[in-house]
Structure formats: structure tokens, C-alpha cells
């Protein structure tokens, strides 16, 4: 069973990373209003929220399983507080986890209603550094990081993620240009 904790640690980490990237991409599509005609806006928003929550849940499972794997040797404090004692490749993941918490929890409807939109939006943008730190964590601490399959999948995800990011950046630029005109 000990080895299975290790396998699950790796697999939940990979799935959580993919879900976080997917949530970010959905958010870019939704916020840029580039959703097409076929699906309604609430479909995109609902799925964006779902993917974000799933990413956080799988990240929590990833941390729990790595803690249960005694051979990894991570203490509870190592999972919650980034420190150099176990190496910053773990610390980046811990910081990313807290950033995801900060992003996801205020998006719960009851909390979001009480926040000014500008504050909520600024907090929500923390998802971008969170995903970047997730990538750094996976590249540095990932046992499979230097395998050919991982490298190709990583490049594929980065490539796919560039499109919604570009769409979002262009939409922001267009909105600013329109507002100034």
C-alpha cells in the first residue's frame, strides 16, 4: 500500500495541475466573452467554477496522500507552510495551494456578494501566479518531470493555454482602446 500512496501522490498532482490550467482557460474564455453561440454564458461560468473547485479538491487530496506516504517524510507543517527545510520545490506547491484557496473561496456566492467587484477581481487574478507556481512545482518536484511524455504533455498544455490567454489579453486591450476613444 505504501507504494500506492506514492503513485496516487503523483497522479493526483498531475490531475490537479491539469484541472487548474483548465479552470484558468475557461475563465479566460468567459471573461473575454469569447464563448461562441452554441453554449450559454452560464454554462461557461458554471464549468469554470466547477473546474476551479475540482482543482482545489484534487490539490487537497494530493497533499493528504503525500502526507500519508510516510516514505516521503513530509510533516504536516511542511504541507501548510513553505519552508526551505524540505526544499523550495515543495514550497512553491504550498504557496500555489494557498493562492488557489484565496482565489476560490471568495468566489463562493455569499462571500463574493459582500466584496467590491474590483477587490474580487484583483484577488481572482492571483490564479495566474498560482498556475505558474504549480508549473514550477511540477517541474522541480515532479518525479516524472524529465520523462519524455511529461515534457510533451507540458508543452501541449502550455501551447493550448496560450490561445485563451491571448484572447483575454486582446479583449482587455480592445476594451481599453474603446474606452479611450
Amino acid at each position: 500500500m505504501s507504494s500506492w500512496w506514492w503513485y496516487l501522490t503523483r497522479s493526483t498532482g498531475i490531475v490537479a495541475a491539469v484541472l487548474s490550467v483548465a479552470a484558468l482557460m475557461w475563465g479566460f474564455y468567459f471573461s473575454s466573452r469569447n464563448m461562441g453561440q452554441r453554449l450559454k454564458a452560464n454554462w461557461w461560468l458554471a464549468l469554470h467554477n466547477w473546474l476551479g473547485g475540482s482543482a482545489l479538491a484534487f490539490t487537497a487530496v494530493h497533499m493528504l496522500v503525500s502526507f500519508l506516504d510516510t516514505e516521503v517524510g513530509l510533516r504536516f507543517v511542511d504541507l501548510l507552510w513553505p519552508n526551505g527545510e524540505v526544499g523550495w520545490e515543495i514550497g512553491w506547491g504550498v504557496i500555489a495551494f494557498w493562492l488557489f484557496c484565496i482565489v476560490v473561496l471568495p468566489s463562493v456566492a455569499r462571500i463574493r456578494r459582500r466584496l467590491p467587484r474590483s477587490v474580487w477581481h484583483a484577488v481572482h487574478l492571483l490564479a495566474i501566479p498560482a498556475v505558474v507556481l504549480t508549473a514550477v512545482h511540477s517541474l522541480q518536484a515532479g518525479y516524472d518531470a524529465d520523462t519524455r511524455v511529461f515534457t510533451r504533455i507540458f508543452a501541449l498544455i502550455v501551447g493550448i493555454g496560450m490561445y485563451p490567454l491571448s484572447v483575454r489579453v486582446l479583449s482587455v486591450l480592445h476594451a481599453r482602446r474603446t474606452a479611450s476613444a
Binding site: 507504494s3 503513485y7 491539469v18 464549468l47 466547477w50 527545510e85 526544499g87 520545490e89
Partner: protein
């Protein structure tokens, strides 16, 4: 007259539909409505006491409303869980396969920059010839045989090689040997390190030389962490600290 197939060709498509009757039934018209209302939609009649019929109230559904993207949410959850389990099974299969087809050349041929030349069963003679260290493969405790008496109350560690205890982690065992000359740590020899797979060999060949240099420079086992080699780093510290403790004990230092 036959109707064309293409509706755009239908000559009647631009005709305006016949005017709808604007006069509503008298019973539905409120008494206060202006007579010149035309085809403007009229508000529904207000409920009044007595003769007016009670408005029909459609009961609202009491069940949970079906949320948007419900199917996609279920699909993403199923895909995520199945991917997690599938990847775990794939990793398990890979480990089983790599363990079965371990390359025996790795154990003998790959030493790289690591100074792992000391065979465990051969006595190791120090550069100064002062101490002989032997390692019994069946024993896990370090054994140090000093051929010269340790210097009494000089405060320096006697020259020689001192074996550290093996430290086992997930990927294998790390065991080091500390070499002292002139009272200071001059070398750390790696007797064993995790080399069961190519990744472990690559990681340890990259990290161990840095740890050796670090230990020599700080004259202690508390070397800086090397990113990506946490397991080896921990085991290296444990084994080297054991060797240093052994050296100090052999030299009469507390």
C-alpha cells in the same frame, strides 16, 4: 399554385400577415381601459371582489433546479477520477516493469563523478595509512578500526577514514565514508547510493558531488539542500553525520 421549395423564392414571404383583431372580448377588458387602446397590449385585470375569476397560479417546482453544465461537470469529475486511478496504475506498471528489467550494467558501469570506488568488502586504507575501515555487508552498523592511537587531547580528529551508517530511503541506500587528514575533513567517499533506475543515477550524479564539496567546505554534515534530490540529501546527511560522530568518538572527542 404550387409552392416553391426555397422559401426565399416564395412570392408571399413579403406579404404582411393579416391584421390581428384588436378588440378583446368584453369580459377580459377592464372597465377603466381607454377606448382608443388600439393593438397595445393591455395589463391583465386586477383581481376584484365578487364576480372576477381567481387568477390561475402555476405551482413552482419544489425540486432542486437542474444547474447549468451538469453533464459537463459529471463528465469532468469522471474523467479526473479515472485519470487519477489510471495514472496510478500506469506508474505501478512502470515500476514493476523497470524492476524486472533492471540493467545490470548500471550497477557496475555508472560511477560518473561519484567517488564510489571503494568496494564494501575490501578494507580501505587511508591516504595516511592510519586507519583501516572495513565494512561487513551483513552488518548495518559502521565499523572503524583504528591502527594508530588517537591523539590525546589535541582537539583534532585523527587522520583516517570513518564509515557512516547506511541510510535507506525510498530509492535505495546511501552510505558514505568520511576521510580526515590533518584534522580536517578532506573527502567524502560514496560507498553506495540509489542507482536502481536511470533517473536515480542521473539525480545522484548531479547532486552528490555538490554535497561532497559542501560538506568539505563547511566541515560538517549539514549540507545545503539540493533541489530535486531530497531523498539523497537526507540520507547523505544522516550517513555523513554518523561518520563524523564515529570519527570524533574514535579520536576521543565527545
Amino acid at each position: 399554385m404550387s409552392r416553391p421549395i426555397d422559401p426565399l423564392l416564395d412570392p408571399r414571404r413579403n406579404e404582411r400577415p393579416a391584421a390581428r383583431p384588436t378588440v378583446r372580448p368584453a369580459a377580459a377588458r377592464p372597465s377603466a381601459a381607454p377606448a382608443s387602446g388600439g393593438n397595445r397590449p393591455l395589463p391583465p385585470p386586477l383581481p376584484s371582489s365578487g364576480t372576477a375569476p381567481a387568477p390561475r397560479v402555476t405551482p413552482r417546482p419544489t425540486g432542486k433546479r437542474k444547474g447549468p453544465a451538469r453533464g459537463s461537470k459529471v463528465a469532468s469529475l469522471v474523467v479526473s477520477i479515472s485519470s487519477t486511478l489510471g495514472l496510478a496504475a500506469l506508474f505501478s506498471h512502470q515500476d514493476t516493469t523497470s524492476a524486472a528489467s533492471a540493467d545490470p550494467l548500471l550497477d557496475n558501469g555508472v560511477t560518473g563523478a561519484i567517488d564510489a570506488t571503494a568496494p564494501p568488502t575490501t578494507p580501505v586504507t587511508t591516504p595516511g595509512g592510519a586507519t583501516v575501515v572495513t565494512l561487513d555487508p551483513a552488518s548495518t552498523s559502521p565499523s572503524v578500526v583504528a591502527t594508530t592511537a588517537p591523539p590525546a587531547s589535541t582537539g583534532a580528529i585523527a587522520d583516517g577514514s570513518y564509515l557512516g551508517a547506511p541510510s535507506t530511503n525510498r530509492w535505495g541506500t546511501v552510505q558514505v565514508q568520511a576521510v580526515y587528514a590533518g584534522g580536517s575533513l578532506v573527502d567524502v567517499q560514496i560507498l553506495s547510493y540509489p542507482d536502481g533506475d536511470r533517473k536515480s543515477v542521473a539525480i545522484n550524479q548531479r547532486s552528490l558531488p555538490s554535497m561532497i564539496d559542501d560538506a568539505i567546505s563547511i566541515q560538517a554534515a549539514d549540507v545545503a539542500h539540493i533541489s530535486g534530490a531530497t531523498y539523497t540529501w537526507r540520507s547523505y546527511k544522516v550517513s555523513l553525520q554518523s561518520a563524523i560522530d564515529s570519527a570524533r568518538a574514535s579520536s576521543g572527542l565527545s
